[in-house]
């Protein structure tokens, strides 16, 4: 009887521990917050302007500059040439610049990049899903992502070419 009782006690405490662990764990690790510096950049799967499907993980092992932008955003328009120059400059080290257009149509975006002579890949986020995932509230917002997929720096607002260059230098460690 006494032994039996002990096992019942242990069993009940174990059940409580398991249920408690699962719920507490999920409460602790639920990511209701947006990614910050040092966090892993959330994976995405989107259509590019080239009509192909693209994933962030395609660029694993390379430094990525992920720029959220829109054609109607003046600072975005202003920093486009600087981004393009830096893309060309760092091409040897494998740097990738991605322009994530938020919520605009293909025609609008296409005419824009022709006008601004943008060569880096443009991805489309038509229903704002990626924007929300990344917690972007203002344009432009730029994520500097290290080759291991973690976020080196988040910059909200227009960037100068010097800033981009220095940040990339800091990120790739050169």
């Amino acid at each position: 009887m006494g032994n039996n009782r002990k096992w019942i006690q242990i069993f009940i405490l174990l059940v409580i521990l398991v249920i408690g662990g699962i719920t507490l764990g999920s409460a602790l690790f639920r990511d209701h917050s947006v990614p910050g510096t040092g966090d892993k950049a959330p994976e995405f799967k989107v259509a590019g302007l080239d009509g192909q499907t693209h994933r962030l993980s395609d660029w694993r092992g390379k430094p990525v500059v992920l720029n959220f932008w829109a054609t109607y955003c003046e600072p975005c328009r202003n920093e486009m040439p600087a981004l393009q120059k830096q893309m060309d400059k760092w091409a040897d080290s494998g740097l990738v610049v991605i322009g994530m257009n938020v919520g605009e149509g293909q025609v609008t975006v296409r005419s824009f990049i022709e006008q601004y002579k943008v060569k880096f890949p443009i991805y489309m986020d038509p229903d704002d899903a990626i924007r929300k995932e990344y917690g972007v509230l203002n344009y432009p917002t730029t994520f500097f992502i290290k080759p291991d997929g973690s976020i080196h720096l988040i910059k909200v607002g227009e960037m100068t070419e010097t800033f981009i260059e220095q940040t990339i230098t800091g990120m790739v460690g050169r």
């Binding site: 009782r5 409580i16 507490l24 989107v46 109607y72 005419s111």
Partner: protein
Amino acid sequence: MFENTKCECGHQNPPETVLCESCGKPLLDEGDQTPLEMRYDGVARRSQKANPNPIDLVWNFFSSVKIAVYLIVITLLGSTLGTIYPQENTFVNLDPSTYYKENYGTLGHLYYLLGLSHTYESWWFILLLLMIGTSLVICSLDRVLPLYRALSKQQIRKHLSFILRQKASFADELPADYRDNPSAWVEAAASRLRKKGYKVYKDANGTALLAEKHRFSRWGPYINHIGLIIFLLAVLMRSIPGWHMDQYIAFPEGQPVKIPKTSYYLLNEKFTVDYYQEEEMSEEFREKGQAVPKIYETQAVLFRCTENCDNPVAEPILEEVHRHNIIVNKPLDYKGLLAYQFDYRENPVLRSVHASLKDKKTGEAFGSFDLSMTDPKPAYSVGPYNLELKGYYPDFQLDANGRPVSASRDPNAPAFIFLIKGPGLAAEGEVYMYFPRQIDKERFRQDEINGALGAKLEIGVRSMEDVQISAYTSYLNVRVDRAMPYIWTGAAISMIGLIMGFYWQHRRIWLRMDGITLSLGAHTNKNWFGLRKECADLLNQTGYAVEAKSLDKGGKSS
């Protein structure tokens, strides 16, 4: 440490037993004459044992009702913290790191930093709920099993001091006519008690009796606890992925919107807001001159994505699964997916036009095509002409350098730049600019821009029927709560337990004869008045003359 816990009747009791489990003899305060503590019938609770090991210590902690009360009080206080400022999840779109500071100052920022802006999802709040649940389980088990054992094997002939120390008791010699045959009195009492609905047990020689009714009411609190545990578990199950969702989404008219993290799309076909007419309003409202809405209605169509759902390159294939007109408190409900009317905004914008290409001079139409204001296609073929869309500006403007730009993504002033190729035009095509809205056409001088081409061809709509306008954006609260049936089940079981405990009382009457002396003791968990009256009636009907009040032996009434 060993304690001699053997009663004089020969029964071996567990340590800390208050009343012998068998004969009911008080084991702790033998000399005393005050009414007995009858809680849990004097049996030892499980947790009361000598030399507790670490597991016992955890068990003992949670088995304490005092701890349970503290936990409940702390949880109550903790949950009030979540009501000081609005919680994060009540906003559609905000950055909590700045919102609280901007709106509520330093205190608000502190509130955010302490994590109180999501109190009910915080680890400490969930830990408190878990501890209450643990306490419920262990408190119940710790008491219900020993109590069940005690009540299911009650001895009929109780110790004299057990009977006389009941809060309602009586002792006297038998009435004269029964003194020759005490068991005849016991039999008479038994039949009267049976009539009152008691279950009567007599011992072998008929000189002791136990009468009992409504024992089931003792299980009420435990059934209530089972209900509460189911309730708590159901609340915790909400954290299983897909079990709980609560979000606010904007649905512009005429455009299916994906419900995040599901395979469903919802289309707001038409939103209606209807106001009360002046003659329908009361005098007071009329004086205020305010428009009072009568009904908000979203004609909603729910689609399920069947193909290309996760393929960003292809258009998802949608299948209509449900249709419902959502009004306040009448949500769309499809397999547990609920959509409630929450808010609306009036922002009339062009959605698409069915445009035609005409010969400006003759008015002859070459054909027509659909032109979307959200994501127009890059090419159209109309009669003998090919139209290539080179540019689209939803909110057309000229920037400081005179270059065309869009001021926003909303089609407030849509402008299209076509390259038209076809008969009578230059081989490389000619550029035609099209403003669907008449007001923009004049403001930006469409005819002057188009020049010679504008004199030959014209893109336009024939009538307002060719124009589709989204007048309203409807905001819906989309919810999934798969835990709800379990929450209701738990609540119902809990209610059954409460009713069992509230409306019935467990009454017991013990009798024993020692020669010609009758000793009667009675116990209930509430309504002592009723029990004393029942005992007095019994005695008065069997030859005694007693007043109900005289049976009261004091003690705290609970």
